[in-house]
Structure formats: C-alpha cells, structure tokens
C-alpha cells in the first residue's frame, strides 16, 4: 500500500462570480521514501491540492470531496483533532516564501521548540537540544548562537533551512514542499536541493515537491504529475516523462524552456493564456491552446489512461500514439513545429 493515496480529489471554492473548480478530480499515489514532483503553471491547482490534503483550506466557501488515504486513514474525513496530530508530526509542509512563513516576533529557537512540544511530551531542555541538532543538520553555522536570533536576522536561504529544520523536527513520513526554492537564487537553490536530497536519504521521508521549474523536477523527483487547469494531464516516472512526453501541453512546457543543454534559436510558445477555472472549456481543457486540436477534443474530455506499451505512464489526450511518438522525438531533437 502506498503511503499516500489520493483518489478523485476535488476542491471547489464558492465565490461571488460562481464556483471555481480549483482541483477537479485528481488522483495519485506517493510511495514511502519516494519523491513525487507536481508541475504546472500558476493557477493549475498544484498548491490547492496539497493544502486540501493537509486540511489547510479555509472551511468557509470550500467544498472538498474525494479521498486522501494516509497510511490507510482518510485525511479528508477524519476528526480535526486527529488531523492536528498528524499535521506537523507525520506530515510536514515547507512553504514557498520563507519570509512570511516564520513568525517575526519570536526567536527561531522558540518557534522550533513550540513545534516539538506540540507533538511530543518532552521538557523544554530536551526540545531545545533537538531543535539545535536539526539546525546543525540543515547546515546553520554557529547554531547555538543563532537559535536566539529573530527571522529578520537570517538571509532567505537560511530562513528556508530553518523551515526545513522545523518540518523535520518530528521525523515526518511525508514532507510536502510547495515551491521550496522559487524565492531563492540559483546557488542557494542548489544548496537547498542538495540538503533535501541528503535529508531524504538519511530520514527516509517521502517528498511531494510542487514546482513550476522542470529542471528541479527532473533532478529531484521519481515520479511526475503534470497539472493543467485543475486536472492531471500526464503522470509518469521521471525518465519516461522527459524522454517520451505524451501530451501536447507537456511538449509546450518543455519546448518553451530556454535551457543550457539544448541549443534553440526560437522557443516554442504555447499561444494564449490558461483558462478560467470558473468556466473551463468544454472537452479537453487544453484544446483552445493546442496546435494538434481535432474535433473530438472540443466535445469529449479525454480520460487519464495508460499508454499501450507502458502501463505506468498515464496521459489524457485524444491524439493517436504514432503521432505522439513522432512529435516527442522531434521535441527531443529540439525542433518541434511552432504552435500556430
């Protein structure tokens, strides 16, 4: 049994303009000790998926349905008290912005100790020792002294390390990292990614990493989920996804990326904008922007189904497989026809 099994997750928000379907039927699993990458552009529902699993959406005006089984227990239907036990203990989360996710008026040490004492029956001294151990583990220099510093005395990269230390305090089985390196510079990003990889090896936690950076996903994830307009459009082990992407949106994402390892004179651009989730397009949600659109795409929404010779690789697209293999090969050669 997988550590986390999400089935047909839906999160809808009631707004003045109507119902926003922010997550609309999402299913995936996370295995113990593995890393799942969720990629997609802003507004595709990556963050809301994870907030829903963690029960962190505001209760008012939110309608959630589906199942999220964590070690066999459904996170969505369990009593709030039980969820509070699990959150921060068995499942921990790292947020994008380390500037705003720490409390500015308490010292780092105090915030770490609070998180330990909430879940464990220890003395303050033991909790402090544990906090210190983790600050050292995440590479904060002179950790004894820095325990009593306030968040503003730390740099962005250091704050993100503190956030990671806080997430790891109680040896979580699952770590959800929502754009953990987006606000950081490349050299700091390299430090943080290396740290997360090392900690995963040492602590054996499973990680869900949410990002819009395909480079980060390629280097950290075992499995990848691509989201577009509140739905999963492709899901596969990382090598399969990058070597043989099977969905025009994924091609667009890969082609629109300027990169160091491929020479391109002109980037493939995906025309238009992501659709509104108040009123998503009929049929395939990508069809208005898709250069390969057919009549069936406008009428019938494609199901997420495995490709014929690779049952682990799921995709939602009506195109036939020969065409897709041909286009994926072209993309690999760096010459995908520009979308008209």
């Amino acid at each position: 049994m997988a550590l986390l099994e999400v089935t047909d997750l839906r999160t809808h928000f009631r707004t003045d303009d109507g119902i926003v379907r922010a997550v609309d039927g999402v299913s995936f699993e996370v295995e113990k000790g593995k890393t799942l990458g969720i990629v997609g552009e802003s507004g595709s529902g990556k963050s809301v998926t994870c907030l829903t699993i963690m029960g962190l959406n505001a209760k008012r005006n939110t309608i959630s349905s589906g199942q999220a089984l964590f070690k066999g227990e459904d996170l969505l239907s369990m009593p709030p008290k039980r969820l509070r036990d699990i959150r921060g203990n068995d499942i921990a989360m790292i947020f994008q912005d380390p500037m705003t996710s720490l409390n500015p008026v308490h010292t780092i040490g105090r915030q770490l100790v609070e998180a330990i004492k909430l879940h464990r029956d220890t003395t303050s001294r033991q909790a402090r020792a544990r906090a210190l151990e983790l600050l050292k583990a995440v590479g904060i220099p002179r950790a004894e002294r820095r325990m009593d510093d306030y968040p503003h005395q730390f740099s962005g990269g250091m704050r993100q390390r503190v956030m990671i230390a806080m997430a790891l305090l109680n040896d979580p089985d699952l770590l959800i990292a929502d754009e953990p390196t987006t606000a950081l510079d490349v050299t700091t990003q390299a430090q943080i990614l290396e740290l997360m990889n090392r900690l995963q090896r040492e602590f054996g936690s499973a990680i869900i990493i949410i990002t819009h950076d395909l480079g980060v996903v390629a280097e950290t994830a075992d499995d990848v989920v691509v989201m577009y307009a509140a739905r999963i459009v492709e899901r596969a082990p990382v090598n399969n996804l990058f070597n043989r992407p099977h969905m025009p949106y994924t091609w667009g994402l890969l082609g629109s990326l300027p990169r160091l390892d491929v020479e391109t004179e002109r980037l493939t651009q995906i025309p238009g904008q992501p659709p509104s989730l108040l009123n998503p397009p009929r049929g395939c949600r990508f069809h208005p922007r898709c250069p390969y659109v057919m009549n069936i795409c406008k009428e019938q929404e494609p199901e997420l189904r495995p490709i014929s010779d690779d049952p682990g690789h799921l995709q939602a697209c009506h195109l036939d497989e020969q065409t897709k293999d041909r286009e994926a090969a072209k993309l690999a050669a760096g010459s995908l026809a520009e979308a008209s």
């Binding site: 802003s42 390629a218 990169r259 160091l260 651009q269």
Partner: protein, 370 residues
C-alpha cells in the same frame, strides 16, 4: 533560422556595430546615516562599485547575478533614475552623467525601461491607451489622433488587441500586462531598452511568448537591449554578450557562447553548475559546485577579491590582499580572478586546486588562454 544565425554571427564581439553606450567606472554608494536631527553618515552600501563596459548598437548585453549584486541599481544609474556617485555614463558619445533635467529630456526618449513586476509597474487607475501614450504626449510626438493611431499600432505590434485601448490593467493577465510594458517602452522609438527582469514574474509558457516577442522586436526595429535576469538559461537564450556581477563588481564579461562554454571566474562556474537541467539523466550526473554561505553584505564587502570568502580556489595571502583586475582571456572575454578556471566543466576537486601559477598581470597583449 539561417538568417537569425547569420545576424548573430555579425554581432559577434569583433562585429562592426557602433558603440551606443559606454559605462566607465560607474559607482553608486548609498549612505547609511545615524541620528535624528543631525544625520551623520556612518557607512555606505556600495551597491555598484566601479563597473565599466560598453554596449554596441543592435546587440543584447545580458547581466546576471544574484539578488543584491547591484544589477538593478546599475540599470537605474544608466537610465539616470538614480544619480551615480562616481564614474561616467556616455550615451551616443555624450556624457549624460551630469546633465540637468531639461537637458536629459530629449535623451530619455532614446532609452526606455521594462520593469520586472507587470502588476506593480502599470498605474491601476489609468487606461492602457493612456499608459502607452504617456511618453508620446510628454515628448509631444504628434497630434491626439496621431498618438491614438500610434498606440493602436503598438498594441498590435506586441500582440494585443488594438481595441483593448480603453481597458484597465487589471483586465489583463500577467503576460498581457508585460506586453503593455513592452508597448510603452517602444512608443517613442528608443534606441536602447533596459529590461530589468522582464520575465521573472511569468510562467514558463508566457515567458517564452515574451522572450520571442523581444527577439522579434529587436530584429524588426534594430533595438539594443541590456537584459537583466537571474536566470542563466533565459540570459543565454537572448544575449549576445553576458556580464556576470557579484557584489557590485563585474566578475566576468564574455561573448555568450564563450561564457557558457569556457567560464573563467569560479563564481561563473558555480552559477553554471547550479542550474538544474530539465533532463533527468544529464541532470542527475551534474555535480553542482555548492558555494558555502551567503552573499556578504555590500555594507562591508570582503577585502580585495570580494568573492574570496566563498571561493573554492581561495589562496590565502593573495586573493584577500591583492584585488584582481579584469584579466583578458581572448577577444572581449575578461574575468576578475587571479586563479581562473583552466577548463570547463571541472570537478569539485579540480575546482579547489588551481594550477599553482597565478594569472600574470594584464598587459596590452591578450593573455594566453591555455
């Protein structure tokens, strides 16, 4: 494709484009004061500290560096949005560093800026038509009807519907707003456009749209760009030459392909090795050279070579005593390092062990590149 390739070749360093902008020893120090009534200067933040380079007509100079390295301050000094503390900015052969507001006005028409945040850089209370037309009106370029026609033409050029003339910025998405920013910069037919992180706030698919648009406009209107970004992939894609900045100084300046193929400064090497590659097999073989610590405060930068506390090839008694000048490594390639990288890529081990002989003093002759 082939035409693009040939124009790129024409713009290689030895190209003939005339010099549009020259920056000489540019400095911008922000005073740090203490005291309420009598403000006494106690220190200064050396945001830009002696930067010199030239930009030729029709080329794109990419500027990379981490937050706080002075990229944006430098851009604002060039635009005279900030007054430099020292040094010179020469635009089309004319020193504009000390020009008065009135004398500056006709020159402002020649250089425009595109800003990072498409949400904050457009006035939310003005209609798009007004935003794009404002510069035309300030510079009195045409009658009302002419200006309106010009604005609609501009909206069309940047890929927006000209009929959206009367809409407000909030009615547009992030990518569309950045197009408005581009239209505004183009309005007065500038020669130089300074783009300060124009795509950092955008999603990848939209980022590609804007990058392609900027390239097309450069081809069609012969624009010159200074393109500031922290994303090395983006900078490589758009630039002809690339300048790497660290703590207010130039670490390395080279033609694009040379910088990415043969970086000489250890900081450039560390930056390049830190970029994740969207290819699982290649990416996982990559061994990033992880720098220790953070960028030091520009309030109190390290002595001599300002990169020495984080540098893997730091040599005590040399790098922290003797500030490295910009050594030459062939045509148009300079780097400020006593112990430049011998080849690329290097393993972390090789990175730490520089060849024992330090770089010779710069001379008139370009230093041998071996």
């Amino acid at each position: 494709m082939s035409t693009n390739a040939s124009t790129n070749a024409d713009r290689s360093y030895a190209g003939t484009g005339s010099e549009l902008l020259a920056v000489e020893d540019l400095k911008k120090h922000f005073p740090v004061t203490r005291g309420i009534l009598f403000q006494k200067q106690v220190a200064s933040v050396k945001a830009v500290d002696g930067v010199s380079f030239t930009v030729r007509s029709g080329e794109t100079l990419g500027v990379v560096g981490e937050s706080g390295c002075g990229k944006s301050t430098m851009a604002r000094c060039i635009m005279r949005l900030l007054d430099p503390t020292g040094g010179k900015v020469v635009f089309e052969g004319r020193d504009i560093t000390r020009l008065s507001r009135a004398d500056m006005r006709p020159i402002r028409r020649e250089m425009m800026m595109i800003f990072q945040d498409p949400y904050a850089s457009l006035n939310a209370r003005k209609r798009v038509g007004f935003i794009v037309a404002e510069a035309l009106e300030v510079h009195k370029m045409g009658t009302e009807a002419e200006i309106k026609r010009r604005v609609q033409e501009l909206l069309d050029v940047v890929g927006l519907n000209p009929e959206h003339y009367n809409r407000f910025p909030h009615e547009f998405s992030g990518g569309q707003r950045q197009r408005i920013g581009v239209a505004r910069a183009l309005a007065v037919n500038p020669k130089l456009i300074v783009c300060d992180e124009p795509v950092s706030a955008l999603d990848v698919s939209v980022q590609a749209q804007i990058l392609n648009l900027l390239k097309d406009l450069q081809r069609d209107f012969g624009l010159t760009y200074i393109f500031i970004a922290h994303d090395l992939n983006v900078v490589r894609h758009i630039s002809d030459r690339v300048m790497v900045m660290y703590l207010g100084k130039i670490a390395e300046l080279a033609p694009r392909d040379e910088l990415y193929r043969e970086p000489r400064h250890p900081y450039t090497g560390a930056l390049l090795s830190a970029v994740p590659i969207p290819n699982p097999e290649l990416g996982r073989q990559r061994k990033p050279i992880v720098l220790q610590g953070d960028v030091p405060s520009p309030l109190n930068p390290p002595a001599a070579c300002n990169f020495h506390p984080r540098c893997p090839r730091f040599q005590e008694g040399h790098c922290d005593v003797d500030p490295p000048p910009l050594y030459s490594f062939g045509t148009g390639h300079t780097a400020a390092c006593h112990y430049p990288l011998e080849s690329w890529p290097l393993t972390e081990e090789e990175m730490r062990r520089p060849s024992s002989r330090p770089q010779s003093r710069p001379s008139e002759e370009p230093a041998p590149t071996t």
